[in-house]
Symmetry: C2
Subunit: 404 residues, 2 copies
């Protein structure tokens, strides 16, 4: 049911990165691979952003620790079990998996970053996972991106990947990324895993900075259901294997722009494949006094179950949008200044129904599967954009039956 999301495009390999998948049998059903091992060239620089949920999963804690102690050589990702809410046993399980990866290559366990996604609160079956490691290792291949994008899926219906060639001073570097995540998605990270790699040479501070800037307008601007996961992580790898360095300000700007494109496309892909999504909705709020209030209005609209069910029904029930704007907590709000449009159709002007609005015009827009809600608060110059989807029967079905 993904909205405007096709099959995976060709994903360019990134020199210095090899990916291998295998089936550990961690998912309740299915025969697909659910384990991903990523091998990184020596000297690879790694930037990462993790969930802000206080109940962060064991692998998040372990990955943060390992990242602080040495430069990673391996990423280990499993789908089907989140290893979250598992206490000290969960930490030990994540460490045991890292130790098993490291042992086979003579690395220390801190050279391995673990990632998990799936059901919360069940013990990670370490033995199953470790038993599948040799198969993942022998599958390691620089062309493994597409298989990797499949292996990390949970309730995703389609794999998600984006690739760009970037011209840096006449030379070409590659940026390739994959992501998963379809529910528990909201701004400030989600049940989302994203792994993005480049063969450029980039100092780790520059890398972290570029990642945070790219995320601010991509992964932190999407919402499926307002829930924030315990396991979210986004990792950016720079192998340096191309020998092309991102050093001067121009190169940084070019690289960050390409990275932002990749992140935005991946983030939008997550919403397009949002659980039960039948519509891809862009919420654009202009005319705010500051970006904070624009974001609050956009998020309140994007999180409103009433707005989302109206979109599912293709019902131009714009009153629900007004009600959401009105409860977003904007100070000294003057509703007489508010404009609301659906795509090109202006529905609300001066805080009430626009004189020229006709229901059939609203209906025409609502029948589309990609729609922009435009709000102008008429208070200033700030703007924000975020992306969300509708709330359908399938969302309820998927989340009511996820464990059964």
């Amino acid at each position: 049911m993904a909205v405007g999301l096709g099959p995976l495009p060709p994903l360019r390999s990134v020199a210095g990165v090899r990916l291998g998948t295998a089936r550990a049998g961690l998912r309740r059903q299915g025969e697909q691979d659910d384990l991903l091992l990523v091998e990184l060239a020596e000297e690879t620089r790694v930037a990462a952003v993790f969930t802000r949920n206080a109940f962060c999963a064991a692998p998040v804690t372990v990955a943060r620790d390992h990242l602080a102690s040495e430069s990673p050589r391996w990423l280990l990702v499993n789908a089907g079990n989140a290893n979250a809410g598992t206490g000290p046993d969960g930490l030990a399980a994540a460490e045991a998996c890292c130790r098993a990866v490291a042992a086979a290559s003579g690395d220390r366990k801190s050279a391995v970053l673990p990632f998990s996604t799936g059901v919360i609160g069940e013990p990670l079956p370490v033995q199953k996972l470790v038993a599948a490691l040799p198969a993942a290792r022998s599958a390691l291949d620089s062309d493994g991106w597409a298989a990797a994008a499949e292996a990390i899926m949970t309730t995703d219906t389609l794999p998600k990947g984006v690739s760009r060639a970037v011209d840096i001073g006449g030379q070409q570097v590659t940026v390739t990324g994959i992501a998963k995540g379809a529910g528990m998605i909201r701004p400030d990270m989600a049940t989302m895993l994203a792994f993005i790699a480049t063969d450029a040479t980039i100092p780790v501070e520059t890398l972290q900075n570029a990642l945070e800037r790219a995320m601010a307008t991509s992964f932190n601007r999407i919402s499926v259901d307002g829930d924030t996961s315990t396991n979210d992580a986004c990792v950016l790898l720079a192998t340096g294997a191309s020998g092309i360095a991102i050093e001067d300000a121009d190169a940084c700007t070019t690289f960050t722009a390409a990275l932002s494109e990749v992140c935005t496309e991946l983030a939008q892909a997550i919403v397009r494949d949002g659980e039960g999504a039948t519509k891809f909705i862009t919420v654009r709020v202009d005319g705010g006094a500051d970006s904070g209030e624009c974001l609050r209005v956009a998020e309140t609209i994007a999180h409103s179950p009433l707005v989302k069910t109206a979109f599912f029904a293709s019902d131009p029930n714009w009153g629900r949008i007004l009600a959401a704007i009105g409860r977003a907590g904007v100070k000294d709000f003057d509703l007489a200044q508010v404009m609301v449009a659906l795509d090109e159709v202006v529905i609300v002007e001066g805080g009430s129904r626009a004189p020229g609005y006709r229901e059939e015009d609203g209906q025409r827009v609502m029948d589309r599967d990609e729609i922009t809600i435009r709000v102008d608060l008429g208070r200033g110059q700030a703007s924000e954009v975020l992306w969300t989807c509708d709330l359908s029967h399938d969302y309820v079905t998927i989340n009511a039956e996820y464990r059964t």
Copy 2:
């Protein structure tokens, strides 16, 4: 599908209050009455609390104005059209209805308080409404409470009313209330209308104070879908017709306690009849450093679509509860102190699965239709309780098809 909500109990009449209903034809379908006129004895004192949504509906603005200028003699309530998002025309429509009520009795229009509930953004059909006024007026009856509870319903499946006799120094006063509202319900008021009357004599300041105290732990502690309506209002009337005065501190305490009971039962009735509700869920958070953080945790749990769909599925997917607690924004949160139980079954201790927890115990609780989620944050002495319901297919159906 209401959970544990039976037919209306007998509602005691309140001397000084007469209620009449009629059919104005404002609902898209149905033959039921959709107009309620309430006549108040002279000297009736009125307290009220209105929505905090900045996009408040025209009748809310008008009712606030009228209440500030004189003591009301009439309430006029319609279902089917919210007269919200209707701009200056909406204000004029609400005033026109008040004028029509006032004209028939020689009152000023400011002696009439208007209330509307229903679809947002459509013009109020004033003519239809005014045409039905004579019928409502001739139906005026002190025993009209049950018919009134029916007339104000929108997506409610059952009428909601509660009545109490209260002993004040050996004499009996009556408190009777009705309410409506099934969606757009959240703490801090909702698409909820509640009208409560007593025949006691109470000064208006005392009345307002009692109402606000009673609401704090009743109507402000319920959530169906986290949306806040443009039309919410709760009105408390004291006719004084019994001649029994609420004056000393003891009488105030007794009266407020009875009022709180009535409000709590009405508030819970709204949740029990929440759109598509199949489960009535009490969220109790203990051990907080202050009540603010208890409330944030309780609300985050109550608003989580993932928690709500798990309850719909009777799935003890407690990881979703942990994830909600973790993103509630509690400062310096130590997850190792957290306990979570479903009714009598402790599921999480010290931040992870309790050693003695068995899935079948969780399942036994989840199979019930009234369940308490108990959370202990292990940080202090504060507690909060709120009530919510699950998120079902019927919620989506009801809200996707509301206007069609």
